[in-house]
């Protein structure tokens, strides 16, 4: 109940943030631009539209998650609004979870809006309503949820600029999992290889949520893969949130 209060309040705060609308505007512009870009292609034009569309939703979603998420907790601490809040009978973890769910709700609405625009543009171009695209967008959203958790984690102890850099690094490292795999294969068996394997197990593998290419090409995907990816997202998010709660719990608000 208390988490819900904080969540709704956070949602109200995020939805009034100008950055959100700026990013949404750019996303819509990119989606519209995809139509123009497609004109340059020789051959299959829809692929260009789909690729640009999904990439826009992904990129701008990540930017929203990072730019707003890293300010969420920090602003409360910096502006001292957190003092009155935490003196009420609310536990610190409830506060943190409230912030998290508030931003997730905001991102859900934004992703939905961008997704609808995207589907309409694809519809205009192909005359078909491609429901499969929603699946790709769903997993983009799951990735956004994880990124939100990470942004909030960093927001607990770091300024927005540093938090943004850390969160962005998390995102980039998460997508370099292919590189790490190649590196592991090229390393000779031994301690170094084991260490690398350990590192690759803990590091986020955000490629798990990347179904963009497969869905655009209409390739079949094993439903087990979907299930495990979603589970991975859930568990990793839980891990990050637990870390955030731990750090936040013992923090002095000077």
């Amino acid at each position: 109940m208390k988490i819900q209060t904080i969540a709704l309040n956070t949602f109200k705060e995020a939805i009034r943030d100008r950055i959100l609308y700026l990013l949404f505007f750019f996303a819509a512009a990119a989606l519209a631009f995809s139509r123009l870009l497609a004109v340059l292609a020789v051959g299959d034009r829809v692929k260009i539209i789909k690729d640009v569309g999904l990439a826009s939703i992904s990129i701008f979603g990540v930017l929203m998650a990072i730019l707003i998420g890293t300010g969420l907790v920090y602003k409360e601490i910096d502006k001292k609004t957190i003092y009155t809040l935490l003196s009420k009978p609310i536990q610190r973890w409830q506060f943190l979870l409230g912030k998290f769910f508030g931003l997730v709700l905001t991102l859900f609405i934004m992703t939905l809006a961008m997704g609808l625009i995207f589907l309409v543009i694809v519809l205009l171009h192909t005359g078909k309503l491609e429901g499969r695209m929603l699946l790709a967008i769903l997993f983009i959203f799951i990735e956004l949820v994880l990124i939100t958790a990470v942004s909030i984690l960093f927001s607990c102890f770091s300024t927005p600029i540093l938090s943004s850099i850390f969160s962005l690094s998390f995102y980039l490292i998460g997508h370099l999992s292919w590189g790490l795999e190649t590196l592991i294969q090229k390393t000779r068996s031994g301690a170094a290889r084991m260490a690398l394997r350990g590192v690759s197990a803990i590091l986020p593998d955000l490629e798990n949520f990347n179904f963009k290419t497969e869905i655009v090409h209409g390739l079949a995907i094993d439903p087990r893969f979907y299930f495990f990816s979603a589970l991975y997202g859930l568990v990793y998010t839980l891990f990050i949130l637990a870390l955030a709660v731990l750090i936040f719990k013992k923090r002095d608000f000077v």
Partner: protein
């Protein structure tokens, strides 16, 4: 009545506005002038210097198919900029980058091969690109199909035949691939294979038109086979008897052939005793 200071402020503003106008006009004029200069390069040309698509994939952070699209779009602009004379140097490189980034994107393979054949006049490169496409997309019959066409156009029937055979084997390939294979087989004078393929087509096809075409080709193959046999027999006759046979029956009497072959309609082959020429009674494609 403006005071002296107000007048000064007014003229200062006027000066700034004038400056704005002039600079604006200047920008437009310079831009137009630059555009008239023929380009040696177009923006983004540094893509040429990327060593390998394999590593580029890592730098795209999950957006590899988007980057593939963008490189492809750029490549189209690049290769239609005719002022860049040495643009074909990197054709293979650029299209292999696109292939590494999004191997299942079919258009670039086709367009790359197209550019290679028509503009760079490099048939081998076209085959290389289409082979790459097939390797990464074994279910796409279009690649060996187009390769066959290019080979055929260049009158390299052996290669064309190879590609058409590859095409045939891919499920979902159009029936015409088989016919083209058979026809190419004929061109390289592999009459047996050609006959068998045409026969198979004739017997299995549901399409009336295809059956008719198969029939015509079967006639042609048999006619060629038969006329070759007869011509060889005539030659041997000439060696043995130092003269041309009076009629085709002479060849049988001489023991050079067991019996006179007849065309597919059962008609005899026409023999010109003065020149030794042998012709089929019907023109195969007029049947």
């Amino acid at each position: 009545m403006k005071t002296a200071s107000a007048r000064k402020k007014g003229s200062a503003t006027l000066l700034i506005v004038l400056l704005l106008f002039l600079s604006c006009a200047g920008i437009i004029w310079v831009k137009l002038a630059v555009e008239r200069v023929p380009r040696k390069k177009i923006p983004g040309a540094s893509i040429i210097y990327i060593p390998s698509g394999k590593y580029l994939k890592y730098a795209t952070f999950g957006y590899s198919s988007l980057v593939a699209d963008l490189v492809y779009l750029w490549a189209i602009q690049y290769y239609t900029t005719y002022t860049i004379v040495d643009r074909f140097q990197n054709l293979e490189h650029i299209f292999s980058i696109i292939a590494e980034l999004d191997p299942r994107y079919t258009d670039p393979y086709e367009i790359g091969a197209l550019i290679a054949v028509n503009e760079a006049k490099d048939l081998k490169l076209a085959f290389k690109i289409l082979d790459m496409g097939l390797a990464k997309n074994p279910d796409q019959w279009i690649f060996p199909f187009e390769a066959g066409h290019y080979a055929q156009r260049a009158r390299d029937y052996e290669t064309a035949r190879k590609y058409y055979e590859k095409t045939m084997r891919i499920p979902g390939a159009p029936d015409i691939a088989k016919r083209l294979y058979a026809a190419a087989g004929f061109r390289v004078m592999d009459l047996k294979e050609s006959w068998e393929t045409w026969l198979e087509i004739y017997n299995t096809t549901q399409d009336k038109r295809a059956k008719k075409i198969a029939g015509k080709h079967l006639y042609q193959v048999k006619a060629t086979s038969d006329t070759n046999l007869l011509k060889e027999a005539v030659r041997q006759f000439g060696e043995k008897y130092q003269r041309l046979p009076a009629a085709l029956e002479d060849l049988v009497r001489a023991g050079l052939i067991s019996s006179l072959p007849r065309d597919l309609d059962g008609k005899d082959y026409i023999y010109y005793p003065k020149t030794g020429e042998i012709k089929a009674p019907s023109v195969w494609w007029k049947r």
